[in-house]
């Protein structure tokens, strides 16, 4: 539902409003303020408040905006909200449903609600609805609009304008050949700035199409967009059949942006003030995976018990060895994961990257290793210990560079998301290699 200009008040201090509502917990008092917020401010408000107050906010909001609101809420938050709605609200929700908006969030809705909404649609939209639902919520087909205008090469701008006027709302205009193959896109604003007798070819611009089954998240990271381009053409077997809005793509990028991309602690789309047990389960899994790798490191250390007992300094310095390997590896990882996401790194040039990373590892390893060696030699009054840690740092830097380059590359080849899985594998490698070299050399030299 579109809000009219006069329905909205823009200058509201959101922080103050949240504080006030938390203080006296009677959102009804602010009914008018809340109702007149923009949809995005209402989203912000709901996501800033604990789950038990959210339903009260919901009731202050114009039912005609409920669907857009659900659409813009973070996935987890909207799931929690819908789950908390009383059953009779479901039928109210159903009455105000707009197919296009429901599509954006089909994965968050109970199946019964979707079926009921589909029954309410006329035949044409119901068909489009069902078609869209065959795609996942990371596929272009889910969000593609069919309300596009296809015009042929060589026709006049005047006739394009004429056709635009005779149609219902059109999102995008594309130029095609007689086979409906894509030739270019026509920025609607440009139609006004050329002579109406000119042909559309003069305003057509080259554009790369996407397929119905293309992944939105991939487009979002890999494609760049020219200024003024607001829809991408969607094709089936080369023929233009629909368009997808840049705002859908922007929304996707924003969502990924605020998720932690490369991390040992990925936290996917968690609801800030949602139920504790859901958050706990998601995080517990990662804690356990990391626990396993930490125990692996402990197990490695266990082999060198004798050396540690003789030279406690070895135990004291373990964090330095682990930290340097882990950080250097994460740096390489960050570069590789980005390069892979942007499709800059492929089989064609991965070796070049590997060589560059090894050079950096050598330089930083020797330089920082030398600083560490000096500090250690002075602290524990032992040149031997300094040389041992220098050696461990340099070797571990190489291990870090190699794993940082190849772990995400191999994971991607195996169809595992390198951003999620790389960090934990990498830390395991650098811990195990770092401790083995450091404590191993310690055993050889001091025992």
């Amino acid at each position: 539902m579109m809000m009219k200009v006069e329905d909205v008040v823009l200058d509201v201090n959101m922080e103050e409003l949240v504080a006030k509502i938390l203080l006296n917990k009677q959102p009804e008092e602010y009914f008018d303020t809340i109702k007149k917020l923009t949809i995005f401010q209402q989203v912000q408000l709901i996501e800033s408040l604990p789950a038990e107050i959210r339903l009260n906010i919901w009731h202050c909001i114009d039912p005609l905006n409920w669907w857009s609101l659900i659409g813009y809420l973070q996935a987890e938050t909207s799931k929690n909200l819908i789950r908390s709605l009383p059953v009779e609200e479901h039928s109210k929700l159903q009455k105000v449903a707009i197919a296009a908006e429901v599509l954006l969030l089909a994965d968050k809705l109970p199946k019964s609600l979707i079926d009921a909404i589909m029954l309410d649609q006329d035949e044409k939209s119901s068909l489009e609805f069902q078609q869209a639902l065959t795609y996942s919520d990371d596929q272009v087909g889910r969000f593609a609009h069919r309300n596009i205008l296809r015009v042929r090469k060589g026709i006049s701008i005047a006739s394009v304008i004429d056709r635009l006027k005779r149609k219902d709302f059109i999102s995008a205009v594309f130029m095609v050949d007689s086979e409906r193959n894509l030739l270019g896109y026509i920025p609607i604003a440009a139609l006004f700035n050329n002579d109406e007798n000119d042909i559309v070819d003069d305003v057509a611009r080259p554009v790369q199409s996407v397929e119905h089954d293309s992944r939105v998240s991939v487009i979002a990271t890999t494609r760049q967009f020219e200024e003024g381009m607001d829809y991408l053409p969607v094709v089936e077997n080369g023929k233009v059949t629909a368009a997808i809005s840049i705002s859908v793509i922007l929304h996707e990028v924003q969502a990924s942006l605020t998720n932690n991309t490369i991390s040992e602690a990925p936290v996917q789309d968690e609801d800030l003030f949602g139920p504790v047990n859901v958050a706990m389960r998601g995080r517990g899994l990662w804690l356990c995976i990391n626990l396993a790798t930490a125990f692996l490191a402990s197990w490695v250390i266990g082999f060198f018990e004798g050396a540690i007992q003789q030279v406690v300094a070895l135990a004291i310095l373990m964090p330095v060895v682990a930290s340097m390997g882990g950080i250097a590896g994460s740096q390489t990882l960050a570069v590789t994961v980005r390069g892979l996401a942007l499709k800059r790194i492929t089989t064609a040039n991965i070796k070049l990257l590997y060589r560059k990373e090894m050079k950096i590892a050598l330089l930083n390893g020797v330089l920082i290793g030398a600083i560490i060696a000096m500090v250690v030699a002075y602290w524990f009054d032992s040149v031997q210990l300094g040389l041992i840690i220098l050696c461990a740092i340099v070797v571990n830097s190489f291990a870090a560079a190699a794993s940082g380059t190849y772990i995400p590359f191999v994971l991607e080849k195996m169809n595992v998301d390198p951003a999620v899985a790389s960090a934990v594998v990498l830390t395991t490698v650098t811990d195990v290699i770092g401790f083995t070299i450091f404590l191993g050399l310690g055993t050889i030299i001091f025992l």
Copy 2:
């Protein structure tokens, strides 16, 4: 420079092309293929190739596209490329300069080149150019266009269309009152779908404006955009004076997305195949900061030398204590940093988040701590050791939750970017507290 539809070939296998060029290093052979790539494919190609081949690619590209190309290249990569251009190329570049495109990359250009380009502009664009340059490349003012159309409330759609036709290219149309205060924006495509005798009010939509000095990166993370909205109004003292394209914002989000957001190893915008010494310096700094915190952890461990010598198991288990604290803390951190970036967390509700995080810490700490305790008690045949590590894990979980919540919050209040600085502070806290409790209890019980 805009490319025409017929200049471009879209179906090129980029990976193959990169492999071929790397194999025989004669890009001239592929001159025609490279020239006919879209600008974004040319960008991909340059970023996928080592620095020494890039200049050859550059020479294959139509000079009219040079500026857009520079604009779309990653910051570091384009700096390196421009630095490597022979001096005589600078004057060639200058000849094909388009003010609007130069603006996007003023920070990457030598001052002399910018001055020369400004002299070439007519008075009006030169003035706009200078004005835009007073803003940083993260401010709206740098990218704002003045070619907007302001229409008054109540006028007919026909007269809007008429005014659009009489103007040079217009990016966006806004509805204003008699004082030029913003009332709403008019989607250009909607002008075709209403009766020409209707008033613009019928198609106007509410929109929040931005200021010339607003930060693009903040808009990029915090604002959501409706479908079909392609420009945001830019205001000065409430009066609409310009517009900024959503594509600029999308570009900003994409750039941040591919940077590692929350990390102990931030790698800013590094050129994949740029000079090793530049990459090394950037990373070396972070390695040194982390080195300092690792030594701090070592120093803490040093206090418990006696206990470690008696019970080597304490040293063996240190990675487990450190890992659990670090990971749990990073999870909280991910949630907090995202909430802060989206302006969901403020002084009004930070305590609520803190309480939720403490609950999760208690539950996960006790549960996973118990698993660890059982493994440890069995492994080292010591119930005491199991209880010690249980205690350390639980206390450290609380420390992790508290720091994960408040470190980024405090950093933001101090105007330090929490995404960059939080992780290293957090790990220090969890390492120090974890080791102190674990080894401290070990000392009390075993010595």
